[in-house]
């Protein structure tokens, strides 16, 4: 019950934070990527604020034997830099630049701008499914 509550609260704070930060505006996100044009630095401030809190969280995490509402930390490895990582990042960046949307703002927009968000999210899920089907 506690875990379910924390997951919902985490998502809700994340969604509200995306809204406040302006990151639910694809034109603004695209503006950050328009480095050689009409550049909008806002996304860098969002990233800075989020990383500031998370940097502290990682320090706290190292002193905890287990998460507050769970038995173990389930954390991905950090070392492996391979072709999948780089190829995936290249493809993700292309999509991000084309639409001005990444997964968080796209899903959050389902509640506030249903038609465009649903088209993007449906295509995104199709892309995820396609990867799952073709991944050996």
């Amino acid at each position: 019950m506690m875990r379910a509550f924390l997951a919902l609260v985490s998502g809700a704070i994340f969604g509200a934070g995306l809204a406040l930060s302006g990151m639910m505006n694809p034109a603004r996100v695209r503006g950050f990527l328009d480095l050689f044009g009409d550049w909008d630095p806002t996304l860098a401030f969002v990233m800075g604020g989020a990383m500031l809190v998370m940097a502290v969280a990682w320090i706290v995490q190292r002193r905890m034997a287990a998460p507050a509402a769970g038995s173990d930390f389930h954390l991905p490895g950090t070392a492996l830099v391979d072709a999948r990582l780089i190829g995936g990042a290249v493809l993700f960046g292309i999509g991000w630049g084309l639409a001005g949307l990444c997964p968080g703002p796209a899903i959050a927009s389902l509640g506030t701008a249903l038609a465009p968000a649903a088209i993007f999210v449906a295509a995104m899920l199709a892309g995820m499914g396609l990867f799952k089907l073709t991944d050996r």
């Binding site: 509200a16 998370m54 493809l91 993700f92 927009s109």
Partner: protein, 147 residues
């Protein structure tokens, strides 16, 4: 509050919203022991991915994302300009979906969570997807299709 030289930027709202995103990711990490990576959790929530977070955690996080945006939007209008044609959304969505699964993360997992952990994987991934996004926008603009 504006940023010198960039009248359209919203640095204070961006920073405050960023603090909230960081808090959300910290709750996921310190409370549930997991990375708040939206692409992974969305894939899990839709049962595309079998491993990873427990399904209730994934679906509730995704539902929370929508709920949080709706609640914010009820208090204050959310400005959003989407691409001028649905084709951008379809193409962008396909690349984002396939790419985030192949590369195991997006702006939240690699960007916010991984970079603050100083993960070499995430530092490389974030540098690459930002460079790729910048190149894509520059190319689209050069072709005369900027929006």
């Amino acid at each position: 509050m504006t940023f010198p030289g960039f009248p359209d930027a919203a640095p204070l709202d961006g920073f405050l919203g960023g603090l909230m995103i960081g808090l959300a990711a910290a709750i996921m990490l310190l409370g549930l022991g997991r990375i708040a990576g939206v692409s992974g959790l969305a894939s899990r929530a839709m049962l595309i991915e079998r491993g990873g977070a427990p399904w209730p955690v994934a679906i509730l996080f995704v539902a929370g994302l929508v709920l949080g945006a709706i609640l914010f939007g009820a208090a204050e209008p959310i400005e959003a300009v989407f691409p001028p044609h649905w084709g951008w959304l379809v193409a962008g969505g396909l690349f984002v979906g396939y790419g985030t699964r192949l590369g195991s993360g997006c702006t939240s997992g690699h960007g916010v969570c991984g970079m603050s952990r100083l993960s070499p994987r995430s530092l490389v991934a974030t540098g690459v997807f930002m460079a790729s996004g910048i190149a894509t926008v520059a190319l689209v603009n050069a072709l005369g299709y900027g929006w």
